[in-house]
Amino acid sequence: MTSATSDDTGVGTASWEVAAREFAAWRAGDRAALDRLVRLLTPVLWHLVRAYGLDRESAEDVVQTTWMALVRNVDSVRDPQAVLRWTTTTARREAWRTARLGRRVDVAEPQTLDAALPPVGGPDSTVLAERTARTLWRHIAQLPERCQRLLRVIAFEDRPDYASLSTELGIAVGSIGPTRGRCLDKLRGLLAADPEWSDQRD
């Protein structure tokens, strides 16, 4: 697994500047920039929305709805630098709302998901990556639901808006940081106790 570059404090940092640039270009009349913006951020939105437990169809609906909301309310994004946060926060809020309405929440167990995956094959590096992913998936599935959700959100959104996250996770704003630390520690503990994990990582 590659290590983080030094100027990268998280995973999503690379994209907010690009997103801001594309958004500004689109606002200035470059239609193709919207195309690039959608292709850049749609995978991020997908993972954020899936963190709320929606099934795949509902998750797709929420991603579509988020982009429609951006185009309809484009004037509410005054600063292009805010476009990443605007879309991610809108997507999470909509996902949370949809999940609360009780619509088709996905309770897929890792095993069923495992079965849906193509058989492991291909180059050695791919095999290793998949094996690593499966191991990690198995351990994350043992964490409390709140931890699973929080970790998936922060793995795809570098600095999520804490106010909305607080509502969605049902914890105080001041507890998000400590909760994040505890969740990561729990995961580290599970991984450390798994010889298979250290084998794969060495």
Partner: protein, 152 residues
């Protein structure tokens, strides 16, 4: 011990491997955003029925979409090589104007009083159905309703 950033990166890569976004999701989003007027209600895919054991040219599948005020059941069947036929049924029934958006243009028809409509000879690719408020139709719609784009 793995530091936070490395661990979160592993979590990121894991979800990308185990639960990736549908490959054409961005294409479908962009297909919808091409609509000039976004003042419509996006329908939700309620259920997708897999082809019921059928194989070969008779393969058909049915999907249901719902909006606040109506649902539409759509059956897609083969009508030739790379050609599909779409049969739709709007409920409650009404003689509503129906548009089918395809990458190659828009087809238009009107549902009958029972809400049934059809498009023969639809090329494969992304399509999207748009149902418009229609004067004289029994079903009052305040704004158009649009299905998410689906691959034929």
């Amino acid at each position: 011990m793995t530091d936070d950033v490395t661990l979160l990166r592993a979590v990121h890569d894991m979800y990308d491997t185990m639960d990736p976004p549908p490959a054409d999701l961005a294409d479908r989003v962009l297909f919808t955003l091409q609509l000039e007027d976004l003042e419509f209600e996006l329908m939700r895919l309620e259920e997708a029925l897999q082809p019921a054991g059928a194989r070969g040219p008779e393969t058909a599948s049915t999907v249901t979409f719902s909006a606040e005020s109506l649902t539409v059941m759509v059956t897609v069947s083969d009508s030739g090589p790379h050609r599909r036929r779409i049969d739709g049924w709007i409920a409650p029934g009404g003689a509503l104007r129906v548009e089918l958006r395809t990458p190659r243009g828009v087809h238009e028809t009107q549902a009958d009083a029972d809400g049934r409509f059809a498009f023969a000879e639809v090329p494969s690719g992304l399509v999207q159905i748009m149902i418009h408020p229609t004067t004289g139709a029994e079903v009052p719609l305040h704004r158009p309703v649009v299905t998410p784009p689906v691959q034929l």
